[in-house]
């Protein structure tokens, strides 16, 4: 007996489609919160005068900072209550549980500092089906590109979600 495929043609059609751009305001308080949660000890993430003494415009983004979600109440949340930062939604998806499978950040040599306003453009880069320890799973790969005010690509986040 063949099981129904998880990935339908309708779902496959969203692969590679870019979502509406989001505005990401890089904020001092958010950077400090993030750095404190990680346990960073370098003052370059906390103290603007110190960061300037190191040649930065302001406190800088810690590694991984741009992965955080942006919530506005008029936008949907996902199955675990997190803000959906990467529309488009996947039509017809029935799997209900979500695990984070992996994360990659790439940077292009530009300082990303508090006060910067970035444009983030996300897409579903790939959908795959796999059978593993959790049964049948959907492996969802997302890619978000972040552009600075001059339109220059400053960071990319790639994420892998496992839905089961």
């Amino acid at each position: 007996m063949t099981e129904e495929a998880i990935i339908t043609d309708e779902m496959r059609a969203v692969i590679g489609k870019e979502a509406e751009p989001l505005t990401v305001e890089v904020d001092k308080t958010a950077i400090r919160w993030f750095a404190r949660a990680v346990g960073h000890t370098d003052l370059v993430f906390y103290d603007e005068a110190y960061a300037k003494s190191k040649g930065h415009r302001s406190i800088i983004c810690p590694p991984g900072f741009l992965g955080h979600a942006i919530h506005t109440p008029d936008k949907p949340t996902n199955i675990v209550g997190n803000s959906v930062k990467r529309p488009p939604a996947i039509p017809g998806l029935k799997l209900m549980r979500l695990l984070n499978g992996g994360t990659e950040f790439e940077y292009y040599g530009e300082d990303i500092c508090a006060g910067d306003t970035l444009k983030s453009v996300s897409k579903i880069a790939d959908l795959r089906e796999r059978t593993g320890g959790l049964g049948r799973m959907l492996i969802l790969t997302t890619e978000s590109n972040f552009f600075n005010a001059e339109g220059k690509l400053v960071a990319t986040e790639r994420g892998t979600g496992i839905m089961y």
Binding site: G64, G81, G109
Partner: protein, 143 residues
């Protein structure tokens, strides 16, 4: 803080300084707020148990951020992280050491930059690698 490290100071096979973390549940709540990931399996043990977990577990992305901290603390002011990633293969729990480690796998030049490639990972005290990944950093050169 350690002194600045330079491209000429490192060799393939070298291990970089470890970063040892041990999360309290408070830290997981701080990360939930700091990252915006409000999934309850990271702070509500009943919901974690309902998802078949032994208790609350450490966020994958927090382990990724720990690996980022390890790299940042190693390359200091004049280095840059070019790329780093990890996969979440195993679960970590509060109260148990998460040991972040990295080993240099290559040194190379690209577009005038001095690049160092590494295998990076988090491991449990018993040596199980829970978040294996790779990184590339740019180090300053003594020229």
């Amino acid at each position: 803080m350690a002194d600045q490290i330079y491209f000429e100071d490192v060799n393939v096979g070298d291990e970089i300084p470890k970063l040892v973390k041990n999360c309290t549940t408070q830290q997981l709540v701080m990360w939930a707020a700091g990252s915006g990931d409000m999934y309850q399996i990271h702070y509500d043990k009943d919901i974690a148990a309902g998802n078949g977990l032994p208790g609350v577990i450490v966020h994958g992305a927090l382990k990724n951020a720990f690996l980022g901290q390890m790299l940042h603390d190693w390359i200091r002011d004049e280095g840059q992280i070019k790329k780093y990633n990890c996969q979440y293969r195993g679960m970590d729990v509060p109260g148990q050491d998460i040991i972040c480690r990295g080993v240099i796998t290559a040194k190379r030049q690209e577009n005038g930059k001095s690049l160092v490639d590494l295998d990076i990972w988090t491991e449990k005290p018993d040596g199980e690698k829970t978040s294996p990944g790779k990184a590339t950093v740019i180090l300053p050169s003594r020229g």
